[in-house]
Each structure stands twice: as C-alpha cells, then as structure tokens.
C-alpha cells in the first residue's frame, strides 16, 4: 500500500519536491500549472502522466526540453486518457508476470486534459476509460474554451461568454448554450469517485486527489482553471478569479462517491453575487449592456438553481 502524504501547511505543500518544473511556457497567471503542482504534490508515489494536446502539453514538452520529472506521455488531442489507461494495463500485466523493474513502487496514473480535450473531442475515450474501470485519474483543466488555439468555444463554454467561434457582436451576446455537466455524466458511469476542485481551495483539492488515489478504479476530477488570456483578466488576479468562481458558486466544490453519493465540500461563508464574477472578466463585458442585463439575472438564477439541486442531492443521500 502506498503511504498517504501528510501535509501540514501551504508552505510545506508548495515547497514539496517539484516533479512539474517552473521552467515552462505557460502564460503568466495561468492556473494550469498551479493545479498540476497541487495534484502532483498530493502524493510522494511515482507517477505516470499524460497530457492531451493543449496548453499544458505544448508549453511543457517542447523538444529538447521537458518540464516533467516523472514519466509522461502525449499522443494526441483526444486520447490522453487512453494513453494512461494503456500504461496502467501494462503495469498490471508486468506486475502479474513479475517483470516490474521496481515492484515495490505504487505508481499513480493521471491524465491531464483541457475541457476541449475532455468535454468534446476526447469524450468517448474518457467514457471508455471510466467504463472499463482502469485505475486512473482524469483531471480536466477546465478553462471553458479552446485556449491553446486562440479561444474557440467548447461544450464547456458558458452562456454569454464571447469566444472566437461564438463571438459577441452587434446582434449576438456570444455563446448560446449552457455548459455541459461533465461531473454528473462521469459520475453516471458509476465510477468510485468524481469531484470538482479549484486551485484556491488547495486543502479541499489535495483531500480529493488523495481520496482519488486511494480508491480502486477510475476517478474524474474537474478543476476550474481561470484563463488570463481568454477570460481576459490581469495575470495577477488568477487567485482572485478562482475565489470568485468558488464563492459565487459558479464552480461549487463537491464530490460524488460511487456515482451517486454527493457531498458538498465547500460552503462559502459569504456567497458573492454572480455579477461580480462576470464583471471581473472581459469575456462577459458585453453582458453589462442594457439589452443583455437580463442574462446576468438568468446567470444568477441558474447558479442558485444548481446550488439548490446540489444541496437536495446531498440531503437525499442517494
């Protein structure tokens, strides 16, 4: 059995030996690197990692350099989950055959992918991995847009957001469709653990990642990753945006055990109006025109309804 890493405080956590190096090409203020470090620092065990094509991948493994001091693979846009599932299958095979070079190790298999690579193009591959019960964790770095290619909408892009393929314009308020509820879809596979996390709530995140590593079977994690470039906010405000996302309940933090038992893991003491979250980002700027203000009201109603739903699910214990 692997030993659970004990973390006392943020300083100790942030100074853990880095297996994801700061030498990378991600934008200043990008939340991806914060999330990745939080996931990797949650364990001392060895790791087999993948990244699907996207910001994380193109910014961390540009030949002849690598930011990864752990086994890492990238194949394509859609198949990062399956890459890690293949490696996990090989681990099982070699373990059974007694051919592991370091049989005493307890490696963790984690795939990182953006929302485009998870909600859209990689959806089938992730579903397959979840259904087959691989001992892997899939982490979505959810910035709600195809950021690597310049800000096209994905099925994670929320209503009213201006993306380059759903731009706000003279007669349009931008994206018309609501965000896909990926955590629920993944939980519906009956997997042992799925959760939503945010990098500002690092203790909550580490607890969930560690729980994910402790269960037998596939784990799905959706991490909100504010994107300074596409959400259009100052790079120094990443954590502020993350705080707004969790404390407005736009990104509520919760977990679903065994596909059904839902627990809310963070209840803001002071719930902030959604309007403040929207106002902090250039991608929603046009919503503050008079003709679109009704959308801000609808946003608040939607977030309230979702929060009420999550609470009912939690109370019902089903």
């Amino acid at each position: 059995m692997s030993e659970m890493k004990k973390i006392k405080n943020l300083k100790e956590f942030s100074t853990s030996a880095d297996r994801f190096e700061g030498a990378n090409l991600l934008c200043p203020g990008c939340a991806h690197s914060i999330i990745v470090r939080e996931v990797l620092n949650a364990t001392n065990d060895d790791m087999v990692l993948s990244a699907s094509t996207g910001c994380l991948e193109v910014c961390t493994a540009v030949y002849p350099y690598t930011s990864w001091d752990a086994s890492w693979i990238h194949i394509g846009f859609e198949n990062g989950s399956t890459a890690v599932a293949g490696a996990e299958s090989m681990y099982k095979a070699l373990k059974n055959k007694g051919r592991l070079k370091q049989p005493e190790r307890n490696p963790k298999f984690v795939s990182f992918a953006g929302d485009g690579a998870s909600y859209d193009i990689g959806f089938q591959w992730i579903s397959g991995c979840m259904e087959r019960g691989h001992n892997i964790m899939h982490v979505v770095l959810d910035n709600e847009v195809y950021a690597n290619t310049g800000g096209q909408r994905s099925s994670s892009t929320p209503i009213g957001s201006s993306a380059t393929t759903s731009p706000a314009g003279r007669v349009s308020y931008g994206e018309k469709k609501n965000k896909k509820d990926m955590v629920a879809i993944m939980a519906a596979h009956g997997i042992p653990y799925s959760a939503q996390v945010a990098p500002n709530k690092w203790k909550d995140m580490v607890k969930k990642i560690q729980h994910g590593f402790s269960v037998d079977g596939p784990v799905f994690i959706n991490a909100v990753s504010p994107c300074t470039t596409e959400w259009k906010f100052d790079p120094k405000d990443t954590m502020h945006l993350t705080d707004l996302s969790t404390d407005t309940l736009v990104f509520p933090l919760y977990e679903i055990i065994d596909g059904h038992e839902l627990n809310i893991t963070y209840r803001p003491k002071n719930v902030i109006p959604v309007e403040e979250y929207l106002a902090a980002q250039g991608r929603f700027k046009h919503l503050f025109k008079d003709e679109y203000k009704y959308l801000i009201k609808e946003w608040q109603e939607r977030v309230d309804a979702n929060w009420a739903y999550l609470q009912r699910r939690e109370e019902a214990r089903v």
Binding site: V58, W72, I73, G86, M90
Partner: protein, 407 residues
C-alpha cells in the same frame, strides 16, 4: 497468475485469423487493446478465448474504438512491454492518426491488418485499400499470402519491431476472407519454439522505470520536426531490411520455412512477369506455370515487404524481364497504382528496358480469376513481341461494363 501452454499438432487446420491469434498467444503479449471489425474480428475473439481458457497471461483491453485500440497500444508500449492488436478497413482508417503517432514515437507494436475495402460504398470483402492507406505511416509492412504466412510473419514482425536498432511498429497484412477465413494446413511451432524465437521483451525508454523518467510524444516545430522525421526515414531505409533478412534467416533455421523480401517464382529465365501481393500471388504462380506450357516464359514476383519498399531487390528481380505487369488491388484515385509507381521508380535510371503496364483489379473482393491472368500474360507477351506496350498503361480487369483503360 500463471498460464498453460497449448499442445499443437505439427500441422493444424487454421484460417489466417486463427493462425495470427495463435502466433499472438505464443509470443506472450503483455497488452492487447483491441476493437472488433470484420474480417479481423476472429483474431480478437480467438485471443479473448485463449485468455478465458487460461492460455494467455496478459492484459486484454476491449476498448470503444479502433482509435482507442491503437491509443491504448501506444500507452502500453511506451510503458514498456510487448503489444499487439488487429483491425481492418474502416477501423484501420480510424486508426490512421495514431499510426503516425506510434511510429513517430518509435514504439514497437504489431498490428495484424486483415485487408478489406474502404467505404463508400460499404464493403466487407478483401482488397488492399486499407493496406495502401498505411503506406506512408512509417510502419514496417509485411504481406502474407496464406494462413501459414500470417502465422509465421507475426513472429518475424515482433522480432524486427522490438529490435533496439529498429523500434518501429510493424503491420502483418493478410487478405480479408480469402486468407482470414479460409482454413488451410498450417505448420506450427511449439509454444517454446515460438516464444524462444521472439525472446523476452527488452524495454527501452519505458515509462514504468521510475528511476529514469522519460517524456514521450514531445512538440517539435520547424526547428526539429524535420530531423525527427528524417531519422525515422533513414532507419527505415538503412536499418530495417538487414534486420528483416536476419529474422528471415533465423526463422528458416528454426522452421525450415524460407521467406524472402521479394518472393520470386520462375523468374530465372522469364520474359514476362506480374508483380502482385496477397492471395493473388498464389493464383498468378499457378497461371504462370500453365503459361509456360503454352510457350510464354512467365514468372511472378510477390512483394513480401511493402514498407520499407524493396527497391534494390525489385530492380534485381526484374532486371532481365521484357514486360512487367504491376497489379494493384486498390483504386488509385486519379493516378497510377502504388505498385506501378514503385516498380517504375525502382527501374528508372537502371539498365532495364522492361515494358511496364498497370492493372487495377479485385476491388471490394471481386475475384481475380485464372482467365483474367491468362489474358494478362498474353498481353504482356504481345508487348514483348511488338517491342512496345500495346495496351493503355492502366487497365481495370474484372470490372463489368465497357472496358476501362487509361493513359
């Protein structure tokens, strides 16, 4: 976990699919990630049954698509172990993206391709469209003509692919239904002989070696991409053929069965010959023998290794031939057939004065009859007699309606 060995008779009656499944079992593959598709499905089913009966000790992952099958194979191969799968046609087409990724990442994987036509129109029968689709993917491609070849070439494929000087994935092709579903006598290796030939898998750059973390599948742009691709091509052009020849030699010592990079039949004194692949090779050999009784000195060249293409061996095999027919079982889509092109490329700038003509045949499983080949050999002889190609350079044979001919 343990597994049982299987007692085989010296000669078993197997179709090409089961022969390939048996070879996979004997090679003791660590991970098979697969998805079923006609006509290769029985390979995957056969392997699954071996697993269910305790004859296999690896992981068998039934994924949700062929793209995922090859993706899983890539992840497993990068982790460090023996990996194989099988597919056909549309499944092969769906895999194409990952085929390039597998070879570019220099991962040894064996892919059994049971050749089948590509839609549209949808068709489950054998032609070489899928095989041709893979020809620029940087894989090594072997071609089996019968179930025996499908069995033997799997062992050779693992041996070559996993060689540390090669580290390139390898396809073993066989004709859909004609080979895959036609039972014939297959001379077997014992389990110990088969596994002994391929040997224990020796990992390289394996992700499961945690003392040596490795980054697979990096980004390169205009600064390094060309060098990576050029090195891969260089290894295909310079390192692979000697390894294949060595594997053929070792296999002959083990089994008594001799494979050649190009398979020559009655070529020593031939005036005319056809160059073809798959089951057509056996048909052409039979007809060539019959043509000799009619006074036409006919020979046959079968391509055994499609990639890397055997330019020098083809040039040597065809150097004294007066008229050559290149038979392509794939619609060339607006140009000459692949074999026509490769043979022309092999002979150009050589001393050969051969007359070369191309034939497209057998699409979607249409039979290539002996009568087709008799007529073809007669056309070649007519070319020899006239001292020029008397037909259009490209003809379709066996297709209904008015004769189709181009160029």
């Amino acid at each position: 976990m343990a597994f049982d060995k299987m007692e085989l008779r010296d000669i078993e009656v197997w179709d090409g699919n089961f022969a390939a499944a048996q070879a996979m079992r004997q090679c003791q593959i660590d991970v098979v990630a697969a998805y079923p598709i006609t006509p290769s499905t029985p390979i995957v089913e056969g392997y699954a049954k071996f697993l269910a009966d305790g004859y296999v000790e690896g992981e068998f992952v039934m994924v949700e698509s062929e793209h995922a099958a090859m993706s899983g194979c890539i992840g497993a191969a990068a982790a460090g172990g023996r990996v194989a799968t099988a597919t056909s046609s549309q499944g092969f087409a769906l895999m194409v993206e990952t085929l390039y990724q597998a070879s570019g990442m220099r991962l040894p994987i064996v892919l059994n391709v049971v050749n089948r036509a590509l839609a549209a129109p949808l068709n489950v029968n054998g032609d070489h469209s899928d095989m041709y689709l893979g020809r620029d993917s940087g894989w090594i491609q072997f071609d089996a003509y019968c179930p025996q070849d499908a069995y033997d070439l799997n062992f050779i494929a693992f041996k070559v692919s996993e060689d540390h000087d090669v580290r390139l994935p390898c396809m073993v092709h066989q004709d859909g239904f004609l080979t895959s579903h036609t039972a014939q006598g297959v001379h077997t290796l014992t389990d110990d002989q088969g596994y002994g030939f391929v040997g224990e898998f020796k990992p390289m750059n394996d992700m499961l070696d945690f003392e040596h973390p490795v980054t697979h599948g990096v980004q390169t742009e205009e600064d390094w991409h060309f060098e990576h691709k050029a090195r891969q091509h260089n290894d295909l052009m310079t390192k692979v053929m000697p390894k294949i020849q060595a594997a053929f030699d070792d296999f002959e010592k083990l089994s008594g069965r001799k494979y050649n990079i190009v398979e020559k039949y009655d070529m020593d004194d031939a005036d005319v010959c056809v160059v073809c692949m798959g089951t057509s090779v056996e048909t052409a050999r039979e007809v060539a023998t019959e043509m000799r009784a009619q006074g036409i000195k006919a020979g046959v060249v079968g391509i055994r290794v499609i990639r890397p293409f055997p330019f020098f061996e083809i040039r040597e095999a065809l150097k004294d031939i007066k008229a050559i027919a290149a038979l392509d079982r794939s619609s060339p889509g607006g140009t000459v057939g692949m074999l026509f092109n490769e043979i022309a490329g092999s002979l150009y700038n050589s001393d050969s004065k051969a007359l070369l003509s191309g034939y497209v045949y057998g699409l979607g499983g249409r039979d290539l009859t002996k009568a087709n080949l008799v007529a073809l050999f007669k056309e070649l002889q007519a070319n020899v007699d006239a001292g020029k190609v008397t037909t259009p350079l490209q003809q379709f044979i066996g297709v209904r309606g008015p004769k189709l001919a181009y160029l």
